[in-house]
Symmetry: C2
Subunit: 409 residues, 2 copies
Amino acid sequence: MAVVKNPTVLRQLRYGNVERVLAVLRRQGPSTRADVAGATGLSRTTLSGIIGQLLTDGVLLEEPAPAAGAPAGRGRPVHRLVLNPNSAQAAGIEVGRERIKVVIANAAHEITAFDGVHCPPRTSVQEQAAAALGLLRDLAAREAIDLTGLGGVGIGTPGPGETTGGGSAPAEAGHGVPRHRQAVADSFAEALQVPVLADNNTRLAALGEAIWGAARGAGDALHVTLSYGVGGGLVAGGRLFRGAQGAAGEIGHISVDPAGPRCWCGGHGCMEQLASVPALLRAAGRRSWTRFGEALAAGEEKECAAVERAAHAVGRALAAACSTANPQRVVLGGEVAALGGAFLGPVEAAFRRYTPTRVHRGVRLVPAALADRAGPLGALALVFHESPLLAGYTTPGAEPSEPSATEAS
Amino acid sequence: MAVVKNPTVLRQLRYGNVERVLAVLRRQGPSTRADVAGATGLSRTTLSGIIGQLLTDGVLLEEPAPAAGAPAGRGRPVHRLVLNPNSAQAAGIEVGRERIKVVIANAAHEITAFDGVHCPPRTSVQEQAAAALGLLRDLAAREAIDLTGLGGVGIGTPGPGETTGGGSAPAEAGHGVPRHRQAVADSFAEALQVPVLADNNTRLAALGEAIWGAARGAGDALHVTLSYGVGGGLVAGGRLFRGAQGAAGEIGHISVDPAGPRCWCGGHGCMEQLASVPALLRAAGRRSWTRFGEALAAGEEKECAAVERAAHAVGRALAAACSTANPQRVVLGGEVAALGGAFLGPVEAAFRRYTPTRVHRGVRLVPAALADRAGPLGALALVFHESPLLAGYTTPGAEPSEPSATEAS
């Protein structure tokens, strides 16, 4: 397969006539062609083409309509169309530092399975890839999901860099695809013979939250994950916006302290140096994040001061980022954001203080909603957006519509 | 006409087969259809459709080929295709605080005329609009340019806000189209009966530099104009990126000093408070910008310190903006950037200090190249990108190509 990098060939997730047909079947359950025509208002010709393709691809099944009410023994028997819930369309996989997570979706874009396994630190890339592939296959077997119709796999891994396609496409020199990401992608492409798309896992979490989570409905959103590092992602018009080096949205490296020390990234006084889990632990002289949380809840001085300082840094970095990109929604995720109001309150206060009124009036700061599913869901969204095999399901000329009410569950 | 706001309907400027045909005629001068077919490699059918449309629209003219070398009196006489240099396709207009500027382009996207007039401060909007319209008509008359084929007018004015269409489309409530911008747009739409698109003039300068100037060839670019205020614009994939409130790229309001005073924008310690012309004059206790420049050149302490401080602020704001949007090019324009190396050197140093290595390695800081033409040229680009009448000239499915070598001249 080809590496899909050109944003001009990307297509909007789930819109157009195909999606209207699927939406009717999701809403009404098994339906005749006449029912679908009535509910969608599509012409017979259009509908016939769409349904034919969906049947060929195993997305829909035809079953005989129940006899009751139908005139028996006359003409062609009436059939009903049903979604095939067991045909996997796409899988999203996150190979994190300590955990591997998999989601599977059917062609109705419904999440049909989710699971995660622990993965010990210092596992080799080959072992990680094998474990992820095993998890996908086990999960499919357990849930009776057929993987043969898979249209693509999305993979998120830590580390900087570009999207990559797997299979025969080598990592392009100078594009900064980390080797471990390419290796995992190659394993999946070889084993499953489908297009594989891979990207940074935090950026994919941004996309997951934008499509299914806390930034749903906001076309332009900024995401920040405050964890052992601070990562982020920028979604513009419902798509990942990557920038020239694939570093767009990396707001953990906005400098908030001109006199701050040099950061591993090469900058100075980066927000990450104040607002990551290790930074907070260091500031409070602690080793356990659980204990840190307890001490904060008990109002202990060192923890409160560290959180206040971190929140100010995050608020200032968000202010700068929003003055640049002017998003509608900012999503805060990760362990530090999970501290709740004690952290998010002062973040919001600093953010408002340092942001033009016009900008901060139009933006909402919200906590992440998908927890550990954001990464694999974002990897899944990447497949629906960018896999060449799934592009046929979308209608580029049609108007984009709000994603329908399928929730990760 | 309809307001064109949806970025999904926007089209790339100047690409595809139409542009290939025009490029051949620009390069080779008057050419036969066979010449064009040979040079473009396009099929007869494709070429015939394109040339037919361009002739109908007055973009091309047909003239009899010189008799020499052609067999006389046999068959259909050979004609040559020539660009019609006198048919205006689009006009770009900037109604600035003290100056009105107009550019006119033909359908080959060549700039065929440029002029500017002084406009006294406190001129009413109606007078400004009348002056701009008068300048456009005078310029066309002087250069023998026919305005009847005009496909759209782009207008830039100061002040925040959204793009708007003119004519019957009213300013939409809540979209923050400033009244003066709408009024100017309406005047043009009424007088010329063509689609009118209007936007903030600094943002249009960003687009002008991205298409014709210092950021040419860089898909993603950030622009900052350091003048009596500090404005900016963000170009993503060769298009204006506006953000939720139309404030994307307004990096003059990134806070660079947590202890700084409240800014008119509602924020605190904004970069504009240190790096605008009035801020520098105030810091040096001067009233004349010319004198300020002379004192700086003479190495006077106050001026040097003020410039150093401003440059540090700009470098830090650019670092935050580039960590968010990760552009390939940063363009610095306006009177302050025109101070040259004494300012740009320390900007670059601060920028590099506070930006991740990966990000700053991929970006170039460059001075603006179009001076006072950037605004009207950006307004012109807006027309080519977004006017519904001109959309037919582009081929959405084709590969975008580097804009050809037409320079504003």
